[in-house]
């Protein structure tokens, strides 16, 4: 049995961690109002934000914790977890010596069915990230929210934000109305590649399709797992459609999607591509070669093998340079940088995962 008490707690001291997944929250829906037109404020008040789920005001699978959050992450006074910058500083940035953190807002915006509304809300979220967080805290960087189902509006939003140092990446969601490799999304990849902006592909969203090719699971315990399949779909689609052939410098970071599956998916793709490559003649390399060149993963939620040392094999297979540490603060499946890894890491391995791999992707100076 592992005892946290007995483990060294200075494992990450002086690493100056880069956290690639922090979730900021609105104090209230009205926080976005300063950047929304009267038309959209009225629209939202009347119709809400039409998405792809059965409830008017919530996601399909109720989580197991309020706001999907750590129970100790509610700031004094009761505002939602992730909405209070001072509390975030104390509970995350200062406590763990995090030098840079990448914000990934997850509230509804980029998957709304009304594309004009989606564009307006995404733009407001971007302004809000700057006003509420990055302008006040230099350690934090924002993600450019885009209405990705509308590529033209998405490119316009990227162009609008790309010169602001506040933004570190373009954010996409692992559930989309078509697999992300399909041509309608290519202008987004073209813009990201052109500006050398990484894509932060975050787990989640609801796009109307059943979570499984066999339909709808009953429980959160199932959907929580099935989410990783949406990430596997996106990795497969980006590779097979030739996105990385067309944009060889594009960097896609798969955030919170699990990662033990990554080498396995590469092997499975390679094994069957060998027989079926006539279907995808635009690929010049085995699928796993694109994955090793263009895909990265963030660590949270940490993979916890039955035998802890097996994790080292998984990382060997993925590549130690492809893995970025993330806490997922303030969500319930948060990873503590001091204790998250079930196996021991060398100092050099820690440096890569907690810091230098992220430094190589994000422009953080």
């Amino acid at each position: 049995m592992s005892e946290v008490l007995e483990r060294p707690t200075d494992a990450t001291a002086k690493l100056r961690i880069i956290d690639s997944d922090i979730h900021p929250s609105l104090r209230a829906e009205s926080d976005l109002n300063p950047w929304l037109s009267e038309r959209w404020k009225k629209h939202i008040a009347e119709y809400g934000k039409l998405g792809h789920q059965p409830y008017a005001g919530r996601n399909t699978y109720p989580r197991f914790m309020p706001n999907t959050a750590r129970r100790d992450a509610w700031p004094p006074g009761g505002a939602p977890p992730g909405s209070n910058l001072d509390f975030m500083r104390a509970q995350l940035l200062d406590l763990y010596d995090i030098e840079h953190g990448i914000l990934e807002p997850l509230f509804p915006g980029n998957l709304l069915r009304n594309l004009e509304l989606s564009a307006a809300v995404c733009s407001a979220i971007n302004d809000w990230q700057v006003a509420a967080f990055t302008s006040q805290e230099k350690r934090l960087r924002a993600s450019i929210q885009i209405p990705f189902e509308d590529a033209r509006a998405s490119v316009a939003e990227i162009e609008k934000r790309v010169r602001q140092r506040d933004f570190a990446q373009v954010q996409l969601t692992s559930r989309s109305t078509e697999p992300l490799g399909r041509p309608k999304y290519w202008p987004i990849f073209e813009a990201a590649a052109h500006h050398n902006l990484p894509i932060g592909l975050h787990i989640g969203g609801e796009a109307g399709f059943a979570p499984s090719a066999s339909g709808w699971p009953s429980f959160y315990v199932e959907d929580h797992h099935g989410l990783t399949h949406s990430m596997q779909c996106q990795a497969t689609s980006l590779v097979l459609e030739g996105v990385f052939e067309r944009f060889p410098t594009l960097k896609v970071i798969m955030i919170e999607g699990g990662w033990s599956w990554l080498p396995i998916l590469g092997w499975r793709l390679d094994a069957h591509w060998r027989k079926m490559q006539s279907e995808v003649p635009h690929l010049k390399m085995p699928p796993s070669a694109y994955m090793k060149r263009n895909l990265w993963v963030s660590t949270q939620p940490m993979e916890e093998p039955e035998r802890p040392e097996d994790l080292r094999r998984t990382i060997d297979w993925i590549g130690w340079d492809r893995i970025l540490f993330a806490t997922d603060y303030p969500h319930w499946d948060f990873d503590d940088p001091r204790h998250a890894f079930p196996c021991a890491l060398t100092e050099a391995e820690k440096r890569m995962i907690f810091r230098s791999n992220a430094e190589a992707i994000y422009k953080l100076d």
Binding site: T177, P179, T236, T314
Partner: protein
Amino acid sequence: MAETIDCDIHPGVPTVKVLLPYMDAYWADAFVQRGMDGFDLASYPPGSPIACRPDWRRAGQKPGTDLAQLQSAALDAFGARFAICNPLYGGTVAVSETMGAAICSALNDWIAAEWLNADPRLRASIVVPAQAPHLAAEEIDRKAPDRRFVQVLLPAGAEMLYGKSYYWPIFEAAQRHGLPVGIHAGLMYRHAPTSNGWPSFHLHDYVAGAQVFEDQLLSLISEGTFLRYPGLRIVLLESGVTWLPGFIWRAIKTWRGVRAEVPWVKRSPAAYIREHVRLTMQPFDAPDDPAIVAQLLEEIGSDEMLLYATDWPHWQFEGERAVPPGFSPALLRRITVDNPLATYPRLQESIA
């Protein structure tokens, strides 16, 4: 000595016409009158590389339709004592319950008459209309007395996940007859093949097929199917193998955190999987590196789970390399003989 047990081969249906003699008068007439044919599965387009290994393909014939080739290429070449036929055909995916049931029943009778009767090494799965569990249960009851039928066969992607109460009649019938339930790769296409909709390529569909098996296992565990039917044995056919350890890790981790949502799941998901679930080992989906294969086998954590299969005539390997490098002789013995006999009680009867 011929002693291996091949747990997944696929005799092909050349045309629905061969099934008509096994249908009742209405359906025998309807398929002709309406000009209905072409019920091959979209998951296995007959011309696609996955559907037939190049050296097993015969010009002008659909894959798997030649008994003599099955005997020489699958049974003799690999020294099979038994081989289990899992026909993949349109009855299992029809939207009409009654037409689906008619095709499935005819297929079962055709397999018995024209394949099982032709070679004593052959066994088969009972193909059922999962669209209509009550009809599926009737079909299981009808065919189970023929002891050469050794399992019930379902497609991996159905209308709902198999843990849902809708499917209880199928598992009840399987348990009643002591039959394992085999779930084979392939979709009904009632839902998009991925949670992001429709990929552009068959290759994507096929690769994504592994995820449906994960969904089905989680559904069976989370809904308590293994508690309702404690004798139930699930066999994943052509599922791929190497996804299993990572799947187990995440299933355990999630269960530890939110198990109170499904409090009847009293044991770790890994325990249910290792007790109730078996997998055929083609495709295996790993590099040709014995060290990696050995590592993955250790992570699977049980030498009782894998079942030998050639997947004939599907194209999974070259030549006679039906087993990846890295399997020890002891494990080889288990997967080719011991595990199949333990999984399929009716095979033991044939030997005794």
